[in-house]
Point group: C3
Chain length 350, copies 3
């Protein structure tokens, strides 16, 4: 995104504890410590990069309050309680500068069914299709090319990016974000084998996304076989995730990219699921469970445990197993030799 | 989806062996045993939930014929040969109630090339693009925003959901379903290194989907380098699956979400592939092979084996290896101590 | 794709070292050695299929120069320095035959913002949306249903397939290919926990794709938190891949389907990443690293190493560990018995 700030403007946004140094030019980009140059703003948030501060060429540098650094020529230091939060404030400011104005307009090419009801200040982009009986809450923005299936409802202040497919009867809460390519409410994967033929089990439920949910690009969430697939309030889901039918996810979970959750599994609140994790069907994942990337979960979990591996085991056990496996080839060689040298001790009894 | 049934209507749909109890109201939802309340229909299909029947508040309850349960007040029991099939009948009924009427209309915004030929009663939604030489069979429904590339053919009674991309020369059989976001016939991933540059190998084949195939949301199936990538009759593929170029899949396979199958692999009939499995290229997977979730298959398989793990091994071996790995840290500690106590037995010869 | 060649036409395209045999008909398909029949062209590129040559029914057969084979009746052999390159030449020819003519036209339904600037001979399909300030280079083709967000720039000779979503401020180089369903520049997955609520960290950077990059169907590349997510020149990415925010990928890498790369990881040049690999965030993957399919990379790598496993280890170590694991159940049984027979040697000291 585009921006141009003077030091004074940045000072107004960040309100640092104190500042040191002088820079007369404009800040037009944000960079990490190593790549920053004149015109860049940079920052130290992770102490592991502390050594990069000395060589940093940034014109404005956000540092922790008690960090010992004297500005170079044409460099200003903002000493801040929390440089991460200071950076976030600047980014929020940039985001607002670059945001689309709320147009509150329905593009003339949008196909809105006459029975659909739209709240105040709804914006709908080009080539959107809104079917029969849909309800859309005020200030929601639906970008171009998106499909909204019949009898779906979408709350207030939602943002639906281009080319989303939201199938019939979905219920979307307030302040929900759906990124491009998301598919909500496609049929659950349910078949019953009749002889060798897989006969489709009708999927007559829907999908419910509660308030403040965010769904990443090209993620798919299947409609329930009956009742609802539910994503709880405040849960954030990354890109290319698959959520099976009748899954229920609690509040404020974090689900990283390419996770797959099989049908009817119930996930508690505040669960964190790392990238590429698979979770089998019909399980209960307790509140606060943490699942490391690429794990495969095959059993119910106790609250607040951390799991690793496929099949997933408690983190410390898994780490010990990995360590043991690393030693195994060497030890096995020793033991095999030992067996060979003492045939009597290892002879199978007839 | 929406519905409202009296007990008599449900009795007509399900035709239970016998019934017991009285409920005068309307059934408006289907719920599992624990969540059912007045106005819900519930069912017992998996015996592991038998204990939940006693406390179930459903107004109508589908139970196996010889299950011992006396209805509560305002509760009706339908005793059925197979409660799962009874439920499926109800769901099919609900699905039909909520289905779009076959409109057999071409939306005025659909861009249909004059050389395309459309069968009787084809429905095409808003903003669909149908290119040169495409053929579409009777009663096929193509939803809004979908792209059908030149010289593709689509059979009869197919359902193509919104925002699908079907590339040129694809051949789709009868009664095929493509869910939203599916991409069929994108280029295979083929490059040849010339010095360090990866030069593209043209992908001039196509994709063939035989009759009764279903493809889940956002799944991608690449066109062949030459000849065809083929998905056999009755095979069902879940969401976010990747099928590489020149793969051939047999009949009546089940492929769960997020599976990846690399180029030129041949898969037999009735193969079941669990979620997130990866299968290397140029392999033969024999008829009836079962591959557990997250496995990585690197070798050809014999018919009807079950495989687990990455690299995948026969199921029983894999389970034994996982069990052994669990014990390994403890045993290794013992053995290391044993070695230490008997240096003479383990000394390396010079 | 469709074609029909006489032997003479093929000879002109391939220019074989010498030819043997006679075939008067037309070649209308390319097949592998086992499936070829009259009218097919086939080829031997991988020596492991040499035995199939004798039984091959192809009408035209591309063989290595010194391969010993006498043509059957109605069969012509083209002896070639490199049959793979000969085949590629034919496929390139077929591809050109079937390519869309460069129409250099803007479809009347495309919504092009008046501030967008389009180079010479740009083609834009039906229902494309091009927002404010976009720049598109000459001879670039943008297919139907695609969204191009504001202030994006796209170079010359690019091909963007149908239903792509390219978000604002993206910078696309020359001769870049984006397949259907690709999402470029969706928000990075960044949240900061405030109590239990995950507050969104604004993602104000963009995505940069350098020249000659190709991105597979339904792949997602997130915009940077600040600065840019960068895919280097000549890098080829397969389908359903996830690239996190602020990732930087070098030149001429190959990234196979369903790979996930977490935020801020830096990947060197000529790196090869197999299918379904996961790479953790904030890592440095050195030039020439090769990562086998399904591996999970958790540490920085040295140049030109090959890695396998999850967690990933050097290839030879991983293979030894897998081999040891295979033997483990048997050996463990022996060792457990040994311990049992010699309790004194293994008694824990108090």
């Amino acid at each position: 995104m585009q921006f141009q700030f003077s030091v004074e403007e940045l000072q107004g946004i960040v309100q640092p504890s104190h500042i040191n140094g002088v820079f007369q030019g404009k800040i037009t980009q944000i960079s990490n410590l190593r790549e920053a140059k004149s015109g860049s703003l940079s920052f130290l948030s992770n102490p592991k990069y502390s050594r990069d501060v000395a060589h940093c060429e940034a014109s404005v540098l956000l540092l922790p309050e008690n960090f010992d650094h004297t500005p170079k020529e044409n460099q200003v230091i903002f000493f801040c309680k929390n440089p991460s939060i200071a950076l976030a404030k600047i980014c929020q400011y940039i985001e607002k500068l670059n945001a689309d104005p709320i147009r509150s307009e329905i593009h003339p090419t949008a196909m809105i069914h006459p029975t659909a009801t739209l709240g105040k200040d709804v914006s709908i982009g080009a080539y959107v299709v809104v079917e029969e009986g849909v309800r859309i809450g005020e200030k929601t923005v639906i970008d171009s090319g998106t499909f909204i299936g019949k009898y779906s409802s979408i709350g207030q202040h939602c943002k639906i990016w281009p080319n989303v497919s939201l199938m019939s009867f979905s219920q979307i809460g307030n302040r929900v974000t759906l990124h491009s390519g998301v598919v909500i409410g496609s049929d659950g994967f349910g078949f019953v084998a009749v002889d060798e033929f897989h006969q489709k089990i009708p999927q007559v439920g829907n999908v419910v996304l509660e308030d403040f949910v965010e769904i990443g690009a090209n993620t798919t969430i299947d409609r329930a076989r009956f009742a609802s697939t539910i994503i709880g309030q405040g849960t954030k889901i990354d890109n290319l995730v698959q959520i099976g039918h009748n899954v229920k996810i609690g509040k404020n979970c974090i689900i990283v990219a390419q996770v797959g959750i099989a049908g009817s599994t119930i996930i508690g609140d505040r669960v964190t699921i790392g990238g590429q994790v698979g979770i089998a069907g019909h399980l209960h994942i307790a509140d606060g469970t943490q699942i490391c990337a690429q794990s495969g979960v095959t059993k119910n979990t106790e609250p607040n445990v951390t799991l690793l591996g496929s099949p997933a085991t408690p983190y410390r056990d898994a780490v010990r197993q990995f360590a043991a496996l690393t030693e195994l080839p060497k030890i096995l060689k020793k033991f095999t030799k030992f067996i060979k040298n003492r045939p009597a001790d290892f002879r199978e009894k007839p």
